[in-house]
């Protein structure tokens, strides 16, 4: 069917010989070019999860609030009042490394589509970014491009970007990570699924024209007539068009709301191939598609190109014939292109026609379910996988020098430079904006609900590199702690597993350990995993990235007015440290500045962590505390400085009780479990009284214009305005 193939094109398309044999066996014949292209993508790591699927089964996915678990385009949890929250995080790492602006922009576009594909209106975006150190011009370029790309898409489409995180570490130099999370809201009785149903129903393609976007490797299948340089000329960069997606979003939601759709599905990786076969697979039906009906952006696309094009801003829906006119009318009002391109059949086959000619015929099951799943062969590495980070601070640097260095270290410093480029307000839901509180808080009133949702995204890859199991536990705990600080109870979790090559035993070990850690932490907190994404093979000349499980968590709180801010509020308020916080220098930012990477993290007592989280949450909900902020990168000294900067007021604290194993640990040691709270003296007294088994340590008092810390013999003092200029200047200074 296609000319110009090499002798074993399947290898060039990334299929092993055994996989190819399996395809031949399932078809009962050799696949033609189109079929091979479709199989190669459907059986790719990206679509088939062949190295991670077995492992993912270890994650707990059930819970009382779960409405949709993994398997649909986004997970969903019940938030009461007839509403569900739908959310998912997804990576766009490789495209962003090639072209950061468009890569990040289309990453946002993709995750938005996953959320409105289930009939939910996207209400918030979060981004989780990893780059190399900022002394590298390339990292600065990638950061600037990715942030403006995220802003461009999110701002233009009118979805608030309310949170995120950015880390800078050497191992991301060649492989940056751009993960985007979207949170949406749907009426529970108005959700739509992606399962195609009803033979005779029509398959309608919505949205943008189809071009040669993202054909990538498969272009070797193009007919020879296109000429030698034809393939080279093919653009591999996809351009995002948020305006098109905005119309598509409004139009899709209106179609869902009007009950006009049988099924809805976004087009993501592998385009029409994967969206159609997954719809068919879920519905246990077949689909006939006529590629000659697909509206094209440029002439001359071959059938296989149309089937695998990754052109953005497209959706696929199933419509009963009687409702087609109504569907077309809604689409025309929104100026969204809508084209019937096929129909549902009872054949359980995906049949591709080019006009009258049958050009591909594949069993749906073979495409979706028959890809071999591989067992990992994990082995704990005998030698360190990563080099030590560059040394930037002398071991004997005094504490005040260390604190200043930490405050302006780009991974610690304020991310204001980035989040000011995001519209965090559109939608009138944002009760806590970036940096105001540990989690973003979104009120449900505009959508007819009560209370608010809180959302946070976290994952410190360096700590996971030190200890994949504990590091992943900590990522879950940190999200939950952020939620507790605003009084929210976790409802569900999504995650993106960004790792190196899983075929290497030490990477497989990292992956397995991290998934175990995540699973154990979820169980301890009673949170279900409702979805996620896996991004493997993030390695190149520079070696693998740090193992980076990014965790996104959504929770609910009854009264948004009581969501505690991070910053101290009033002179005279008392400060306390709540929770089982055991500061340790292993894996800390201070150790990073000193050029060291640990090979283990202290064990975590999950039960004690869960109890402390519940205590903090109730304290915040009850209005007992005026502020709450968790202790994370940089330890207590940095966390206290952040409370002062955010509140514009100083504090006097005594860390001596924590300093028995040295003042440095007390000041800069890290570990899960610590929350700094402040409040009126009586309220803090009362909390201390009811803390019970939850560790509760009075630290001092809010007031003055400097942060003054006693640590046994030593003292440390930093003016709040200086702290602010270090903290807020850290990132922009490096980007000048």
């Amino acid at each position: 069917m296609s000319g110009g193939l090499t002798s074993s094109p399947h290898r060039e398309l990334g299929l092993t010989d055994r996989e190819y044999e399996r395809i031949v066996a399932r078809l009962g014949r050799e696949p033609n070019g189109l079929e091979l292209a479709v199989f190669s993508l459907m059986w790719s790591e990206h679509c088939a999860y062949k190295h991670s699927k077995k492992l993912l089964r270890r994650l707990p996915t059930e819970g009382a609030r779960v409405v949709m678990g993994p398997g649909e385009n986004a997970g969903a949890v019940d938030v009461g009042d007839g509403l569900v929250a739908a959310f998912k995080v997804e990576s766009h790492n490789h495209p962003s490394a090639v072209e950061p602006f468009q890569g990040a922009a289309t990453g946002v576009g993709g995750i938005l589509r996953d959320v409105f594909a289930i009939g939910a209106r996207p209400i918030a975006i979060l981004d989780s970014l990893r780059f190399g150190e900022l002394d590298s011009a390339r990292s600065r370029y990638l950061l600037a491009g990715a942030v403006s790309g995220i802003g461009h898409y999110g701002n233009s489409i009118g979805v608030a970007t309310v949170g995120g995180e950015i880390y800078f570490e050497g191992p991301y130099e060649q492989n940056c990570l751009v993960n985007a999370m979207c949170l949406g809201l749907a009426r529970r009785d108005r959700m739509v699924r992606s399962a195609a149903a009803g033979p005779g129903n029509l398959l309608v393609l919505l949205g943008a024209l189809t071009g040669r976007d993202g054909i990538g490797g498969a272009s070797i299948l193009a007919s020879a007539e296109l000429g030698e340089d034809g393939a080279a000329k093919r653009p591999s960069v996809q351009i995002g068009d948020p305006f098109e997606e905005k119309k598509l979003l409004e139009c899709s939601l209106e179609l869902v709301d009007a009950g006009l759709l049988v099924a809805l599905q976004d087009l993501g990786a592998a385009g029409l191939s994967s969206s159609s076969s997954e719809m068919a697979s879920k519905g246990g039906v077949g689909l006939d598609i006529d590629v000659s009906k697909v509206p094209l952006r440029e002439p001359g696309l071959e059938p296989f190109e149309i089937m695998i094009s990754e052109s953005q801003e497209r959706m696929l829906c199933v419509v009963e014939p009687a409702k087609l006119d109504a569907v077309l009318e809604v689409c025309s009002r929104w100026e969204v292109r809508a084209t019937p391109i096929g129909s549902v059949t009872d054949t359980r086959r995906l049949r591709v026609f080019d006009g009258g000619e049958l050009v591909g015929d594949m069993p749906v099951e073979a495409l979706v379910d028959d890809c071999p799943l591989y067992d990992l062969e994990p082995a704990r590495p005998a030698a360190p996988v990563y080099p030590d980070p560059p040394r930037r601070l002398a071991d004997d640097a005094p504490a005040d020098v260390a604190l200043r260095a930490l405050l302006r270290a780009p991974s610690v410093a304020s991310k204001l430079w980035a989040f000011e480029q995001y519209d965090s307000l559109v939608g009138s839901r944002t009760v806590r904006r970036p940096q105001q509180a540990d989690a973003a808080v979104l009120q449900l009133a505009p959508d007819g609900g009560r209370g608010a949702l809180a959302v946070s995204i976290d994952g410190n890859g360096r700590r996971v590199a030190c200890d994949p199991y504990t590091g992943a536990v900590e990522a879950v705990l940190e999200c939950a702690r952020n939620l507790a600080c605003v009084g929210a109870e976790p409802l569900g979790l999504t995650n993106c597993l960004n790792f190196g090559n899983p075929e290497k035993p030490h990477i497989a070990w990292q992956l397995e350990q991290a998934v175990e850690g995540m699973a154990d932490a979820c169980r301890a907190l009673g949170v279900a995993v409702v979805g996620g994404n896996v991004s493997l093979y993030n390695e190149s000349g520079g070696g693998p990235i740090y193992p980076t499980p990014v965790v996104g968590m959504v929770g609910a709180l009854p009264d948004p007015a009581l969501a505690a801010p991070a910053g101290f509020v009033e002179e005279g308020h008392r400060i306390a440290l709540v929770g089982p916080f055991a500061p340790d220098l292993a894996g800390s930012e201070l150790e990073k500045l000193r050029g060291r990477l640990a090979t283990g993290l202290p064990q975590v007592d999950l039960e004690a962590q869960a109890a402390a989280l519940a205590f903090v949450r109730e304290a915040v909900r009850g209005g007992a505390v005026a502020s709450a902020h968790d202790v994370a990168e940089g330890g207590l000294a940095v966390a206290l400085a952040e409370c002062c900067i955010a509140g514009g007021v100083g504090a006097r604290v005594d860390l001596a009780p924590l300093a028995e194993r040295g003042p440095e640990r007390a000041l800069f040691g890290e570990g899960p479990g610590g929350v700094i709270v402040s409040g009126p003296p009586e309220a803090i007294d009362e909390l201390a009284r009811i803390a019970g088994a939850v560790p509760f340590l009075r630290l001092g008092e809010v007031g003055g214009d400097a942060l003054e810390i006693d640590v046994g013999a030593a003292t440390l003092s930093l003016r709040v305005d200086e702290a602010r200029s270090l903290y807020e200047g850290g990132l922009p200074d490096l980007l000048q």
Binding site: N155, G158, G427, S428
Partner: protein, 243 residues
Amino acid sequence: MKLGVVRFPGSCDELDALRACRLVGDAELLWHRDRDLRGVDAVVIPGGFSYGDYLRAGAIARFAPVMGAVGEFARSGGLVLGICNGFQVLCEAGLLPGALLPNLSLRFVCRQVDLVVERADTPFTRACDPGEVLSIPVKHTTGRYYAPERILDELEANGQVLLRYAEGQNPNGSLRDIAGVANERKNVFGLMPHPEHAVDPLTGSTDGARIFESIAAHVEALRRGPLAAAGGSASAVVGRGAA
């Protein structure tokens, strides 16, 4: 009283604007293809990225059918408020003087800013005190107000500058710190900051409500008669269109 909020393809803040309007009266969405303003007493052109902001912010939206009706409404004295992208559209449409250029930073900026009320005797600011400072967020990439010097002098002389960024807070490089301007007749007003995002204590500030309260008060006053509407000012707006 009824307010109409225009919805273009690519509008983003229209539902926020609608909510803010509903705090002071009835409000409904007006579709960009409609030519009928449905008897509204005032029109709000909301923020967002109408038509993707492609080519130039506001350049394509100003040709939407609804803008023809809005133009007539404005010429007959009807109140028109343009917020952010709406301000850009009104400038492109020639209903307001000047133009909006890319921020000097060349970046999108989302930030709470302080605004000084320069004139408290207009339909859009009558609920404010002169010199009062309002805390309202901005969020835009193309918000640098520009007009030739001569026109700026005229605007100042006519009292058309209603809001200025407080000292040191100009987020975009707008000339003379201008955050919002009215036409000569003061029945059309555009501003880059988003008052509709400052009407709820939970989301940060309620200062933006003053703009909507002003419009409502003005429309009510008109109901009671032109003299009440004038509020003592000589440059009274009389009558309104499409009622």
